[in-house]
């Protein structure tokens, strides 16, 4: 196992995203579809934060940006 | 009858309150239909402690059957016994000595206070305040001690017998009652401070569970429950028995008919009862405490009815005699049963919390409903 870094975070983000996609496609119930959407939104937020942490550390954009889809 | 567990077609929840539930103060079973928190319907299911007291009384002698009635409304045992004793006395055309009359009224009013005090604590507990319950028991304990000394029992006293009372009062009776009066007068303002004046309590009770005068009459509500709706139904005033016609006291009548006014009526009644006791305690006449009766009582053939005002309302004893050793038929009219019947009407559209408050304000004693 490697030292966790950006790629690990992005992998988690992508996996969450596609788990969300899978749930969104298989479920036929509004509430469960909403839950899958939440997963997708969260994967996006996770990516924002990860990029802020590992790539563009000079600005606090990540938390601010991630606040927007959260609302 | 609705299915007892589950939901209705409209998505309303059906819940069993009881037979064992903290708010029913006994084994009353209510099947309530809920729309969210709002009560849509209440169906009382009775019979969990039916002991067939009426039937039992038919096989007991005229001295014995009185004791069974102590187990009905156990909080007004004295007053129940009084009604039965009066029915038998009517049949035998017995003249009850003055001393016995006074003792009966004294005991009855003490019982009424004890019952109302317990109700006060229990009602506060229903609404969620625990502390008043213990404060109420402090005063109730004093009354129970008085009862224990004179009658030999604390709850089911069985003190009234046809023709008077069973024993003479205890020598300490006078002093103890005086002490109680002083103590209770001191504590009543405290009760008001603790519960009556409380903003939350008022918010919980005002305008909740309104029972109009017409409904109260048509459901046969009596006692404080009926009087809070403005019904003029205090038997002590309407059809005075014993020495009540010679006493100075007021009939408390409320206006709004809501939970708060039922509460206030009982609080005022405690003061009136205290007033009655104060009038009598220094004026207990000397003389016999019991009229001379035969060892075996035989009530002449006929029908006799007596009614009294218990702590819960109009209690009636209908006695049919065929001239034998035991009553031919006995029918009790218990106030709790009629008061309970108004519950469904009163509670509809209110919240679950109100159901508990309203039930508390009706002051139901379940063995009184299920005889």
């Amino acid at each position: 196992m490697m030292e966790p870094g950006l790629y690990h975070m992005l992998f988690i983000g992508a996996a969450l995203f596609f788990i969300g996609i899978y749930g969104f496609l298989t479920r036929r119930n509004l509430i469960t579809m909403l839950m899958s959407l939440e997963l997708i939104l969260n994967s996006v937020c996770l990516n924002f934060i990860a990029f802020n942490r590992y790539v563009w550390t000079d600005r606090a954009t990540g938390p601010s940006m991630s606040a927007v889809p959260r609302i | 009858m609705v299915e007892e567990i589950g939901t209705t077609d409209k998505g309303e929840l059906i819940i069993n309150v009881g037979p064992q539930h903290p708010a029913t103060h006994g084994v009353l079973h209510l099947v309530i239909t809920l729309d969210g928190e709002t009560v849509r319907k209440v169906e009382p299911h009775l019979g969990y402690i039916h002991r067939s007291i009426e039937k039992m009384s038919e096989s007991l002698s005229y001295r014995q059957f009185i004791y069974a009635t102590s187990r009905m409304d156990y909080l007004s045992a004295h007053i129940n016994n009084h009604a039965c004793a009066m029915a038998v006395e009517k049949g035998l055309q017995l003249e009850v000595p003055e001393r016995a009359q006074v003792i009966r009224v004294l005991m009855g009013e003490l019982t009424r206070i004890a019952s109302h005090v317990l109700w006060w604590g229990a009602m506060a507990m229903d609404i969620g305040a625990f502390t008043p319950f213990f404060h109420a028991f402090r005063e109730r304990e004093m009354i129970n001690d008085i009862m224990e000394e004179s009658c030999g029992a604390r709850l089911t006293m069985n003190y009234m017998v046809p023709g008077g009372v069973m024993y003479d009062i205890h020598p300490n009776f006078h002093r103890r009652v005086k002490e109680f009066i002083a103590q209770f007068k001191r504590k009543l303002p405290e009760y008001d401070e603790l519960v009556t004046g409380n903003t939350i309590f008022r918010a919980r009770t005002r305008g909740v569970g309104v029972l109009s005068k017409e409904d109260a009459i048509s459901y046969g509500c009596s006692g404080p429950t009926g009087r809070a709706s403005g019904v003029d139904c205090d038997i002590r005033k309407v059809q005075p028995y014993g020495i009540y016609d010679r006493l100075d006291f007021r009939q408390i009548i409320g206006k709004e008919g809501d939970t708060y006014s039922r509460y206030l009526v009982r609080m005022q009644e405690m003061r009136q009862s205290l007033h009655i006791i104060e009038q009598l305690i220094d004026n207990i006449p000397e003389g016999d405490f019991q009229a001379k009766t035969k060892a075996v009582l035989k009530v002449p053939k006929g029908e006799y009815y007596s009614r009294v005002e218990t702590a819960r309302g109009d209690f009636g004893v209908y006695l049919v005699s065929e001239g034998g050793l035991t009553p031919y038929r006995i029918k009790y009219r218990s106030p709790g049963f009629s008061n309970l019947s108004a519950l469904d009407h009163t509670v509809r559209g209110q919240k679950i919390g109100d159901l508990v408050a309203i039930m508390g304000s009706f002051d139901l004693v379940i063995p009184d409903i299920d005889r």
């Binding site: 992508a14 996996a15 298989t26 509430i31 969260n42 990860a50 938390p63 | -």
Partner: protein, 172 residues
Amino acid sequence: MKGETIVFYLLAALTLVSAAMAVGTRRIFRSAVYLLSSLIGIAGLYFWMRFEFAAAVQIVVYAGGIAVLIIFSVFLTQRAGDDMPTPPMLRTIAAAGAALLGMGLVMLQLVAHPFPTPAVAEVDRSVSAIGRRMLATGDDGFALPFEVVSLLLLAAMIGCIVIAMRAKPNQP
């Protein structure tokens, strides 16, 4: 291996496993609980990356708000105890295929793409810095999105009030 690394893998496992269970389980209430635990795993990852504010907000918003909202809507609209019907086999396979395909493509891109390593020292990520940024009107300020979101929320709020108002006259 350092303690931090273990914590990271634990958090990642929590997040992904509970996310998978959230979309896989057939009981809707459990699904909501798994979703919540996945989101809390993400909050843990934020903590791990030292973004405490984002983590706390994540927990506040999701545990305190959205999860409760979802659970309430489950209570109010669903027969929460019943199992949901299993989706048809074909759809499951199709969805799984699509997800796996997408995942593969993204992973290919990820591996191929080199990300620049940070040259500049880390900036202040404290709450006050985020607050300043949220209300800054300059080049990288977030005042505009912030206001747009407020407008959206206002619209949603008015919509809620309107919906709630309409039920009034019918009530007894």
